[in-house]
């Protein structure tokens, strides 16, 4: 039970700015980004929605495609007080 809760939390903790970054990159389409980083458009949609956390390698490729640091594309929310005990 605790493990499931932890899994759910860790999944929802990763946020991304892909939509904004695509907009700033001359309204880059999801397909164009997918072609640049070598995945399918469906995978980009899933990442953008937060339904899939990409591998570190793909995350770096996406950051490189936007010419921004990784932290600008993906961010990890701070653990809440329940998990950290703070």
């Amino acid at each position: 039970m605790a493990r499931n809760k932890s899994k759910r939390n860790s999944k929802s903790k990763i946020r991304n700015n892909i939509r904004r970054l695509r907009f700033e990159a001359d309204e880059m389409t999801q397909q164009a980004l997918a072609d640049k980083v070598g995945v399918s458009r469906q995978t980009i949609v899933a990442i953008e929605k937060g339904n899939y956390s990409p591998s570190l390698e793909l995350a770096f490729r996406m950051a490189r495609a936007f010419r921004t640091p990784l932290e600008e594309v993906f961010m990890y929310e701070e653990a809440d007080s329940e998990n950290t005990g703070t």
Binding site: S40, Q42, T43, A46, G50, Y52
Partner: protein, 148 residues
């Protein structure tokens, strides 16, 4: 709906269809007295081997037909290559499929232990094989829709 989702739906339907038709033919032969499945285990082995062959050929034909229809409907001939998300989805679905198969295998051993006839073992294997395949394909659909 993505190519993978459509492919999984086709796999579920074709799996059910091929198994049902084959089971019906075998059952009719059993009723006609051409087969003795209650006592002759060599025939079960033969039926399994033939089923594997028939199933593979039927699936290949169904996949080719599906791809042609999909290409006409979407006007794209390319089959999408698997990326890291596809591989993860398939990995998790295979895991679920194995869970189902192991459960069926354990169930068959329990049934054998409580005195069910040996031929029931083969029937349970066929049903379990079908269920594990459905679990694989439906898991893929689930992960593609809900996220992995």
């Amino acid at each position: 709906m993505s190519y993978q989702e459509k492919q999984n739906i086709v796999n579920i339907i074709s799996g059910l269809l091929v198994t049902a038709i084959y089971a019906y033919i075998v059952y009719q032969k059993q009723l006609a007295g051409e087969l003795d499945l209650a006592g002759d285990y060599k025939q079960w082995g033969l039926l399994f081997v033939i089923f594997i062959g028939v199933s593979v050929v039927a699936r290949v034909i169904i996949q080719i037909v599906f791809h042609i229809i999909n290409a006409i409907a979407t006007r794209t001939e390319d089959i999408p290559e698997d990326d890291e998300r596809d591989k993860l989805v398939k990995l998790k679905s295979t895991r679920n499929s194995h869970y189902v198969f192991i459960t069926g295998f354990t169930f068959s051993m329990i049934m054998l232990a409580i005195g069910w006839p040996v031929y029931s073992l083969f029937i349970i294997y066929i049903v379990t094989g079908l269920l594990s395949e459905i679990a694989d394909n439906s898991s893929q659909i689930f992960y593609y829709r809900k996220g992995v």
